[in-house]
Symmetry: C2
Subunit: 214 residues, 2 copies
């Protein structure tokens, strides 16, 4: 298809597509003469993903370029390629390792991983931003004196593991490796707002079931 | 306890406590003479909650006052008092009801609620911000052409319902009505970052289990 059709089918303006091409977020089309290039379904898919990262995920262009670099690097294994997407999401600030609540949150999260038997996550603690996010979240809770029982967090973790199984099962329904990785990146952007809205809705539902509308 | 002790035990400076008192976020202490007031455990608990809403939840002072107004209004039933907290959280912008993707997201979410048998949520669709958040999240997904199967969203919803059951079971372990409602408010602020971090960590764990670290 020509640029005009790519624009129409994707809903992205020609000017924006040209900007993405210049920024290297979209591979050039196949040049058929000096003024015309031809684009295919792969361009359409990639364009959709770039828009998702920029418009919904609010990632800066440099981060999008970095994520796509990993997505396209088939010398990397799938865990790393999927992880690259997840790790490019906006992260919480680095925890202050001198802080006593951060230190005790580290111990608490390490114990949680042990209880859960998440040995892969245990192997990744020094580099995983998700681990650091959890430490920051737990430290915030404890700093304010909230003593949620560790079993509660274990149970939340088990539910989130079931969600992760659903995520990856869905990723695996896609035929090509490129589509698998792209679906994982899109999922990293779209799943969280959906889960958050479902959680709030479920709280309303459950609350009304228990206490009615009075 | 005196103001100085309240400050020390809560970790909140005397100046900030005085500010919260002036803004009506904290009830005045029991005046024991013209210059000294006495505070109790209830003040300490409330102070912790106010800090959680302001520092962690990043709610504006006016919203905190509004939430506390509901929390303290024992003429309201528990569903409404718990909901008041949830509904005061930062919400997504209102969906554009003229937009075709928003309209079809409404139909899709309505169908989801029917499939799930969430009849209370069905009764709340016109007023619930959580419902609107879900519509916005689904519309974003569909606008970019991602066709996640509806069964996947049903399965995510069932997991989030189990999380909501855990939330409310924990709320109910607290003895007084005031503590129940305060725990629900704190939960609305703290649970989401914990679930999000656990979800990302679980994705890493599951991904490494399936594909290794290659």
């Amino acid at each position: 298809m020509r640029l005009a059709e790519l624009s129409e089918r994707s809903g992205v303006s020609v000017a924006t597509i040209k900007y993405y091409l210049r920024e290297g977020l979209l591979a050039p089309g196949r040049q058929i003469n000096t003024t015309t290039a031809e684009y295919d379904e792969e361009h359409l898919r990639r364009l959709r993903l770039v828009r998702a990262m920029i418009q919904v995920g609010r990632l800066p262009v440099a981060t999008v370029r970095e994520v796509l670099g990993h997505v396209d690097d088939d010398s990397l294994g799938r865990t790393i390629r999927l992880g690259a997407a997840l790790w490019a999401l906006p992260q919480v600030p680095e925890p202050d390792e001198e802080d006593e609540y951060v230190q005790s949150a580290h111990r608490e999260v390490d114990k949680l991983l042990e209880t859960l038997g998440w040995s892969n996550s245990q192997a990744l603690v020094t580099i995983s931003p998700s681990y650091r996010s959890l430490v920051v979240a737990v430290a915030a809770l404890r700093r304010l004196g909230y003593d949620w029982p560790p079993e509660l967090v274990v149970n939340y973790a088990k539910l989130m593991h079931q969600a992760a199984v659903l995520d990856l099962d869905f990723v695996e329904t896609h035929p090509s490796e490129a589509e698998k990785v792209e679906t994982a990146v899109a999922g990293a952007i779209f799943v969280e707002p959906v889960l958050q809205a479902l959680h709030r809705l479920a709280q309303e539902e459950e609350s009304a079931r228990r206490y009615g509308f009075e």
